[in-house]
C-alpha cells in the first residue's frame, strides 16, 4: 500500500513536470513576438547571414567581431552568425537552404567545399537571395562578389619573404617544408603555388622539400610536423599555412627542443601564436586583419542589398576602412599584417 501510494505520488509529480514543460513551451511561444525575416519589413532593413567555415575558432570569432561592428554602425543590418561547429560543408549547405526558405537578403559564405555548396548557393540565388563569398571563394556562378582578404600572390610571396628575412635575408640557405590544410583547400593551394614560385625565382639557396596535408586538425598537423623533423634533419624552416596547422607545427618544433633552430612561420591569429613567439619557435606571424575582413564583408553585403554596390564598380566605400579596390568581382581587403615580438601584444584576437 505504501509502495503504491509513493509510486502514485511519483507518477503525479512526473506528470506535472511534463505538463509544466509543455506549458512553458506554450508560454514562451506566446511571449515572443513573431520575428519573421526582413522581407516583410521596411525595404532598407537588411538581413545578412554570415556563414564561417567553422564556428568557435579564434579566426572566425574575430571576423564575427568586425561584422558586429559594421552591423552596429550601419544600423539597418540584422546580422545572423552561424556555422557548423565541426566544419562540415554539408551542414553549411543545409544552413544556406534554411536561410533561403526564410527569405533573408544576403548570405555571405566562406565555403568549406565549393562543390558541396554549389547547389544550395545556386538555388538561393534563383530564389532571389544575394550570395557573396568571403575568406574563401566558391565555384563560378554561385556568388556575385568575393570579399578577398588579400590576393594569393601577396600572401604566398609575403610568407616566403618573411621566412627568408628571418633566416638572414638573401644569404638564407637550407631546406623548407609546408604543413597545409586539407588537400582540397582552395586558398592554401593557391598560396602554395605562389610560395613555390617565389622560392624558385628569388631564393636559389632555399629548397622546398615536401608538403603535408593534415586537414583542419591541429593534432594531425602536430604529428605531420614531427614526422618532417625526423625525416629531414637539415630543415631550417617550416610553414604552417592555416590557423590550425600553424600552432600544431610550432608546438612540434617546441617539443622537439629545436626552437630557434627550425623557424616556423605561417598564417594564424596573434592570440593563438603569442606564446610561440615568446618562446622563440616563431619569429613572425602573417595574417590580414580578420576583424576588418568581417567588417568589410557586412559592409559589402549591405551595399549589395541596397543597390549601393553594383557589378562593374571599381571602388567601394567601406566606412572606417576608407575606399577599397574592386577588381572584377573581387572586393579587396588588401593588407597583409605581420606580427612579431615587437607588436603582437597590441592585437587581441
Amino acid at each position: 500500500m505504501t509502495v503504491k501510494t509513493r509510486r502514485s505520488e511519483n507518477m503525479k509529480c512526473a506528470r506535472s513536470v511534463l505538463c509544466a514543460l509543455i506549458a512553458t513551451i506554450l508560454a514562451a511561444g506566446c511571449g515572443k513576438q513573431p520575428n519573421s525575416p526582413a522581407h516583410a519589413e521596411a525595404p532598407e532593413n537588411v538581413t545578412v547571414c554570415l556563414l564561417p567555415k567553422l564556428k568557435g575558432i579564434a579566426y572566425f570569432s574575430s571576423c564575427h567581431q568586425g561584422a558586429l561592428e559594421a552591423a552596429e554602425e550601419l544600423g539597418n543590418v540584422e546580422l545572423i552568425y552561424d556555422g557548423p561547429t565541426e566544419g562540415s560543408a554539408e551542414k553549411q549547405a543545409a544552413m544556406i537552404e534554411k536561410w533561403t526558405l526564410q527569405g533573408v537578403d544576403v548570405i555571405a559564405v566562406s565555403p568549406n567545399a565549393p562543390d558541396v555548396l554549389a547547389k544550395a548557393m545556386k538555388e538561393a540565388r534563383e530564389a532571389g537571395v544575394d550570395i557573396i563569398t568571403w575568406d574563401a571563394d566558391g565555384l563560378e556562378g554561385t556568388r556575385s562578389f568575393f570579399v578577398n582578404q588579400a590576393t594569393a600572390r601577396d600572401i604566398g610571396y609575403g610568407m616566403v619573404d618573411i621566412m627568408a628575412q628571418d633566416l638572414g635575408g638573401a644569404v638564407a640557405r637550407g631546406q623548407l617544408a609546408i604543413v597545409s590544410a586539407g588537400p582540397g583547400a582552395a586558398n592554401q593551394n593557391a598560396w602554395i603555388e605562389h610560395m613555390t614560385e617565389r622560392i624558385e625565382s628569388t631564393y636559389p639557396n632555399l629548397e622546398l622539400v615536401t608538403i603535408k596535408y593534415p586537414g583542419e586538425n591541429q593534432n594531425q598537423a602536430f604529428q605531420d610536423a614531427q614526422d618532417l623533423l625526423k625525416a629531414y634533419p637539415e630543415l631550417v624552416g617550416l610553414f604552417g599555412i592555416s590557423s590550425v596547422s600553424f600552432p600544431g607545427t610550432a608546438e612540434a618544433v617546441l617539443q622537439a627542443g629545436r626552437a630557434g633552430e627550425v623557424l616556423v612561420t605561417g598564417l594564424s591569429t596573434p592570440n593563438d601564436m603569442k606564446s610561440y613567439v615568446k618562446q622563440g619557435a616563431v619569429k613572425s606571424v602573417v595574417l590580414w586583419n580578420t576583424e576588418d575582413l568581417g567588417y568589410l564583408t557586412v559592409r559589402v553585403a549591405e551595399a549589395l542589398a541596397t543597390g549601393k554596390l553594383k557589378e562593374g564598380d571599381t571602388t567601394f566605400d567601406a566606412g572606417r576602412l576608407g575606399t577599397r579596390q574592386v577588381e572584377g568581382d573581387h572586393v579587396l581587403l588588401g593588407e597583409v599584417l605581420v606580427f612579431n615580438q615587437d607588436n603582437i601584444d597590441q592585437y587581441d584576437f
Binding site: 509510486r7 514543460l21 562540415s88 534554411k98 567545399a113 558541396v116
Partner: protein
C-alpha cells in the same frame, strides 16, 4: 497482450499531441515555418534518418542495438567515392557500396550470434573500427564533385524526393511485417525473453543475423542517397547518426529493454525530433543547440516512458 496494444496507442497519442503542440507554437511564432513549402523542403533533412530508424526499431525491439550505423554508412560512402574516383561506372560503384554496408552489418550479426557478445559491445567496437577503415581508405579526404549521373539520383517524383518515397514504402512494409507476420511476432518474443523464444523454436540466431545485415544494407542505401544529395562522398558522413536514430526510436515508445515498440511510434518520434530541431535552428540559428536539443528530448522521452509505464503498472495492479 491487449494491455500492451492499449499502452502503445496511448504513447502514440501523446506523441501526436506533442507534435501538434509544437507545430502550433512554431506557427504562432513564425507562420512561415509551418507553410507546406517550407515543411516539404525541410523534410529533405529527415528522410535519411527516418529510413535508418526503421531497422533500428526492429533491433531495439529484440533488446539489441546498432551503434555502428553511422560508421557503416561512412564505410559505404567511402567505398562508393573511391570506386567512382577510380573511374568505375556509377552503378557498379553503387552495387559494391551496398555490398560493403551489408557485409559490415553481417559481421555485426555474426559476432553477436556466434560469439554471443552483447550487441552494445559488438557495435561499439565496429562503430570505431568501420569509421577507422573509412578514414584510412580515404585518408580522410572527401571525394567531390560526384559524376552528374550520381547527382541525378537526388530528384523529385510527384513533389517528393526519391528518399521520401523510399521511406514511405519501407515504413509501410516494416509496419505490416512487424504487426502482421509471424516473423514480426518473433521479434517481440526475442526481446521479451530470448531464452524462452529459443526453447519455443524461434530461429533466434538466424533472425538476428538477418536483422543486423538489413541494418547494414539500409545504412548503405542511405549513404548513396546522402552522397547524391550533397554531391560528396565524405568519410565523416553519418557521424553521430546513431545517437539521433536511437533517440527518435526511444521517443517513439520502443522500450530500450526490448519487447515493445511500433513503427508508427518511431515515425512519430522521428517527426517530433525533426520538427523540434528544425524549429530551434529556424528560430535561433545556432548549430551548437542541435546536440543539446537531441539530448534533452532523449531524457524527456525516458521520463515520459517511465511515467506511462508506472501508470500502466498501477492500472493492472
Amino acid at each position: 497482450m491487449k494491455r500492451l496494444a492499449c499502452f502503445n496507442r496511448w504513447q502514440e497519442a501523446v506523441l501526436l499531441l506533442l507534435l501538434v503542440a509544437l507545430l502550433t507554437v512554431a506557427g504562432t511564432m513564425d507562420p512561415a515555418f509551418v507553410s507546406p513549402r517550407v515543411q516539404l523542403k525541410l523534410f529533405d533533412n529527415m528522410w535519411e534518418l527516418a529510413i535508418l530508424a526503421l531497422p533500428m526499431t526492429l533491433i531495439i525491439i529484440t533488446a539489441g542495438i546498432d551503434l555502428s550505423m553511422g560508421s557503416t554508412l561512412a564505410l559505404s560512402t567511402v567505398t562508393f567515392g573511391l570506386l567512382l574516383s577510380s573511374g568505375c561506372p556509377p552503378w557498379v560503384a553503387a552495387a559494391l557500396a551496398l555490398a560493403a554496408g551489408t557485409l559490415g552489418g553481417m559481421l555485426n550479426g555474426l559476432l553477436i550470434t556466434r560469439l554471443r557478445v552483447h550487441p552494445l559491445i559488438v557495435t561499439l567496437s565496429t562503430l570505431a573500427a568501420y569509421r577507422g577503415v573509412a578514414e584510412g581508405l580515404s585518408k580522410g579526404i572527401p571525394v567531390s564533385p560526384l559524376p552528374a549521373s550520381v547527382q541525378a539520383l537526388d530528384t523529385s517524383v510527384l513533389g517528393l524526393p526519391v528518399a521520401g518515397w523510399l521511406f514511405m514504402a519501407l515504413a509501410a512494409a516494416f509496419a505490416v511485417g512487424l504487426a502482421a507476420t509471424p516473423a514480426g511476432r518473433y521479434l517481440y518474443a526475442v526481446g521479451h525473453n530470448e531464452k524462452a523464444a529459443r526453447f519455443s523454436g524461434v530461429p533466434v540466431d538466424r533472425m538476428l543475423f538477418r536483422l543486423y545485415a538489413l541494418s547494414g544494407f539500409l545504412a548503405a542505401v542511405v549513404a548513396l542517397l546522402y552522397a547524391s544529395r550533397r554531391n560528396t562522398a565524405n568519410p565523416e558522413a553519418g557521424t553521430g547518426y546513431e545517437l539521433e536514430v536511437i533517440t527518435a526510436v526511444v521517443i517513439g515508445g520502443t522500450s530500450i529493454y526490448g519487447g515493445r515498440g511500433t513503427i508508427l511510434g518511431t515515425v512519430l518520434g522521428v517527426l517530433l525530433i525533426h520538427e523540434t530541431r528544425e524549429f530551434t535552428q529556424w528560430q535561433w540559428s545556432s548549430d551548437e543547440l542541435n546536440l543539446t536539443v537531441t539530448g534533452c528530448l532523449l531524457i524527456l522521452a525516458v521520463l515520459a516512458h517511465r511515467v506511462l509505464a508506472r501508470g500502466q503498472a498501477e492500472e493492472s495492479a
